[in-house]
C-alpha cells in the first residue's frame, strides 16, 4: 500500500482535474445539512466529517432508472437502456465504501445486473476519513476502516492529507492532476493514531461481536421486540430509502402521451411498505408491520449475511437519524443480544 502527501490546498487543483474527466459527486451543503451532490467547481465542496442523510448509493443505483424503452403498434420494439458515464465519487466515508462493496456482490450475484455494473465500472471512488456522531456505530460492525473498494483514500493529518492509494487507476489520477510527495513513516503513523482515537469516540455500540450477530439474530424470530417496535413504526419506508445497502426495487411502465411509446423503469422500493410481499391474488406474505420489521432487521444482520457472507448493516446510523419515531437499530439489536444472553444462561 502506497501513501502520498497531499497538502490541503492541493484538493482544489485535484478536483479541478477530476472535473475534466468525470462527473464529480461529493459532499455539499444543502439547507445546512451535509449531503452528496454534483460538484461543478472545487468551491462546491464542503468537506465535513458529519454523516450525510442519504448515502451515495444513488449514483450507482439511481432512485428511478430507465431499463428499457418500448414502442407498441404495428412494429413493436423493445430496447435496453443502460446509462453509465465516467463519474468520481469524492469524499466517501468508509461505511459507504463497505456498502458499495456489498452492492457490488449483490448485483453480480446470479444474472449480472448490467445497469449497476456498467455504472460501477465507470466510477472512481475517493474516500475520506470521518468522525462519528452519536448515532454512528461502524466500529461495532467492522466498517470503521476500509482497506479496499476505493481508488484513493484521504486521511486527514492536520495540514496535509495522506492519500492512500487503493488502485492503479487512483494512482494515475493522482499523478495526473497534482504533485504529491511520498508520505513519511511518521506521518503514516498518524493515520493509526487517528484510528485509535476514533475507536474511542463511539457513543452507540453493539454489545456483541459482529461475527456473532447472524447467529444471535437467528434466535430473534419470536422476540417480543418486533411487536413492540411495530406499535410505534409508521411503516413509511424511510429507513429503506436512506440505507446504503437497501437495494430492493419495483419495476413499472410509463407511457408517453402518444400512448405508443414509453419506458420501463425501476424505482427504489422498501420491504417496510405494506404491499411489498403481496401477490396479485391478494395474499400478503408479510401482512403485519411486525413481520416486515423482523424481515428488514434480519435482512441486515442475518439473511443477507448468510447469503453473501458480510453483515448488511454498515453502522452508518442513517436509519436512526431518519426514523420519525426514533426506532434505533442499535438499541433493537442490543435488546436481541440481551435476550440471546438470557436464553443461554
Amino acid at each position: 500500500m502506497e501513501y502520498r502527501f497531499l497538502p490541503k490546498k492541493g484538493i482544489a487543483p485535484f478536483v479541478t482535474g477530476l472535473l475534466k474527466d468525470f462527473k464529480v459527486y461529493g459532499p455539499v451543503e444543502k439547507d445546512g445539512f451535509p449531503m452528496y451532490g454534483e460538484i461543478t467547481s472545487p468551491k462546491d465542496i464542503h468537506l465535513s466529517h458529519a454523516p450525510t442523510h442519504l448515502s451515495p448509493k444513488q449514483f450507482l443505483f439511481p432512485p428511478k432508472e430507465t431499463i428499457l424503452r418500448f414502442k407498441n403498434g404495428a412494429k413493436p420494439a423493445l430496447e435496453p437502456v443502460i446509462e453509465a458515464h465516467n463519474q468520481a465519487l469524492f469524499g466517501i466515508h468508509s461505511c459507504d465504501i463497505h456498502a458499495i462493496k456489498l452492492l457490488d456482490r449483490v448485483f453480480s450475484y446470479g444474472p449480472p445486473d448490467v445497469n449497476y455494473l456498467k455504472k460501477r465500472k465507470k466510477t472512481v471512488i475517493i474516500g475520506i476519513d470521518c468522525v462519528p456522531d452519536k448515532h454512528c456505530f461502524c466500529n461495532s460492525v467492522n466498517t470503521m476502516t476500509v482497506d479496499s473498494g476505493f481508488d484513493l483514500f484521504l486521511h486527514d493529518v492536520g495540514k496535509d492529507f495522506i492519500v492512500e492509494i487503493g488502485t492503479k487507476k487512483g494512482e494515475e489520477l493522482l499523478r495526473k492532476y497534482v504533485k504529491t510527495k511520498k508520505a513519511t513513516v511518521s506521518a503514516i503513523k498518524k493515520i493509526t493514531e487517528f484510528k485509535n482515537k476514533k475507536a474511542e469516540m463511539f457513543v452507540t455500540k453493539l454489545n456483541a461481536e459482529a461475527s456473532a450477530l447472524p447467529l444471535i439474530y437467528s434466535g430473534s424470530y419470536n422476540s417480543p421486540v418486533w411487536e413492540k417496535i411495530s406499535k410505534i413504526c409508521y411503516g413509511c419506508g424511510s429507513c429503506n430509502l436512506v440505507c446504503p445497502t437497501c437495494y430492493c426495487f419495483d419495476v413499472r411502465d410509463e407511457v408517453k402521451p402518444n400512448l405508443n411509446e414509453g419506458e420501463r423503469y425501476r424505482v427504489w422500493d422498501g420491504c417496510m411498505l405494506e404491499d411489498f410481499a403481496k401477490v396479485a391474488g391478494g395474499h400478503n406474505f408479510r401482512k403485519t408491520r411486525a413481520e416486515r420489521l423482523r424481515h428488514r432487521f434480519n435482512r441486515k444482520f442475518q439473511y443477507q449475511a448468510d447469503k453473501f457472507g458480510g453483515l448488511f448493516c454498515v453502522g452508518c446510523g442513517r436509519c436512526i437519524r431518519t426514523c420519525l419515531v426514533n426506532i434505533n437499530i442499535a438499541e433493537v439489536t442490543n435488546e436481541i443480544i440481551e435476550e440471546a444472553n438470557k436464553d443461554r444462561s
Binding site: P76, L78, E79, P80, V81, K122, Y221, V251, D269, F285
Partner: protein, 316 residues
C-alpha cells in the same frame, strides 16, 4: 474416454464463445457498439437481462369465468426451452411485467401455453388481447421439477385451484412417457364446479392411467362428487409410502395442511415437492420481493423439495 472428454471441452468452449460474442436479442445489436471501449475492463460483453423476446398469441381459450389459456408463439422461431415448473416474465409494454408459470410441457417448437387468471394490471390487460396480438417474454426462470428423479416412482399430485396450472406442465410431461412411472394420482381441490380447469383434459389424463379425484370446498346443487377441502381426499387413498412422491401446488394456505396429511400417510419432506408463489419484479434475484429469509424464490425456487425449506420460516 480421453477423446470424449476433449470433445466435450471443445463443445463447451464453442458454446461459451457463441454465448458471449452474440448480442442476446434482435433489438440489441446497436447496444454493444455504443459501449465505450476504453473504460470497460471486462472481456465479456454483458447485455441487459431485461431484454425480452417478441411473441404472438396464437390461440385463446376461455377455461372459466376468470381463467384463459393462451398458446403463444415466439417470433424468433426458437423454443422457449423450459422445464416443467419454470416460469417466464411476461410483459405488455405500458401495463407492466409479471411472473407467469408455463403450463405446457417442454416443446421443441417455438410455442408454449400459459393459463392466466385476471387479477392484476397486466393480467387484466392480457385478457383484452386476442389471437395475433403481440406481447413480450423473457426467461424461462427458476428451478424446475426434477423429472428424472420422479421416474420409477408412484406420483401423487395434489393441486388447489390454479395450482393445477404450473402442475399441468409436469403432468403432461409425465403422461407422455407414462410407462416410466408407477401409479399416478391427482387430487384436485377447487372452490366450486365452475372453477374446474382443463375439464376435457382431465378426462383424457384419466384415460392415460391417472387416477383423478376432484373435490369442491362447499356443497353445490349441480355437484354430485366429493365435497370438502383437498386434504379430505387423502385418508381413504391407498399409498405405498416406500415409493410415492407427492407434488403439491396450490394457494399459500393449502401447504401446511396438505403436508400434515401427507405426514399421516408417512410421506416426508424428502418426497414432497412444492412450488411457491411469491411477488416478483425482476426474476433475476435482485428486486427482493420474492425473498424468504435468505432465499430468493425466483433463483432457488419456485420448485422446492420440502426438506430444503421445512425449517425456513415464512416459507409455508
Amino acid at each position: 474416454m480421453k477423446s470424449l472428454k476433449k470433445q466435450i471441452k471443445t463443445e463447451v468452449k464453442k458454446m461459451r464463445r457463441n454465448s458471449t460474442s452474440q448480442p442476446l436479442n434482435l433489438l440489441t445489436s446497436e447496444v454493444p457498439a455504443s459501449q465505450p471501449r476504453n473504460l470497460s475492463t471486462s472481456v465479456f460483453d454483458i447485455s441487459s437481462p431485461y431484454i425480452s423476446r417478441l411473441a404472438k398469441i396464437e390461440r385463446v381459450a376461455r377455461l372459466t369465468e376468470k381463467e384463459r389459456l393462451y398458446k403463444i408463439a415466439i417470433d424468433d422461431r426458437k423454443t422457449l426451452g423450459h422445464s416443467p415448473g419454470q416460469f417466464i416474465m411476461l410483459s405488455i409494454p405500458g401495463y407492466g411485467e409479471a411472473p407467469i408459470s408455463v403450463s405446457s410441457p417442454p416443446d421443441k417448437r417455438n410455442t408454449f401455453e400459459i393459463c392466466v387468471r385476471a387479477v392484476g394490471n397486466l393480467t387484466n390487460a392480457l385478457h383484452n388481447l386476442t389471437k395475433g396480438d403481440k406481447l413480450w417474454i423473457r426467461g424461462p426462470y427458476g428451478k424446475s421439477f426434477d423429472v428424472e428423479e420422479l421416474k420409477g416412482k408412484d406420483l401423487l399430485f395434489i393441486a388447489g385451484g390454479i395450482g393445477l396450472v404450473p402442475m399441468r406442465s409436469l403432468i403432461k410431461t409425465v403422461l407422455s412417457e407414462r410407462p416410466f412411472y408407477g401409479k399416478i394420482h391427482l387430487l384436485y381441490g377447487v372452490k366450486s364446479p365452475e372453477e374446474i380447469l382443463f375439464k376435457d383434459e382431465l378426462t383424457e389424463w384419466g384415460h392415460h392411467g391417472m387416477g383423478i379425484q376432484i373435490t369442491i370446498d362447499k356443497p353445490h346443487p349441480e355437484w354430485k362428487g366429493h365435497t370438502g377441502v383437498v386434504t379430505t381426499l387423502l385418508p381413504p387413498l391407498k399409498i405405498d409410502e416406500t415409493k410415492t412422491v407427492a407434488i403439491v401446488v396450490g394457494p399459500p394456505v393449502m401447504y401446511k395442511y396438505v403436508i400434515m396429511s401427507l405426514g399421516d400417510k408417512r410421506i416426508g419432506g424428502h418426497d414432497i415437492f412444492l412450488s411457491l408463489e411469491r411477488r416478483m419484479k425482476c426474476g433475476l434475484g435482485k428486486c427482493g420481493h420474492c425473498q424468504i429469509n435468505s432465499i430468493y424464490v425466483c433463483q432457488e425456487g419456485p420448485v422446492f423439495r420440502l426438506s430444503e425449506i421445512r425449517y425456513l420460516r415464512e416459507a409455508i
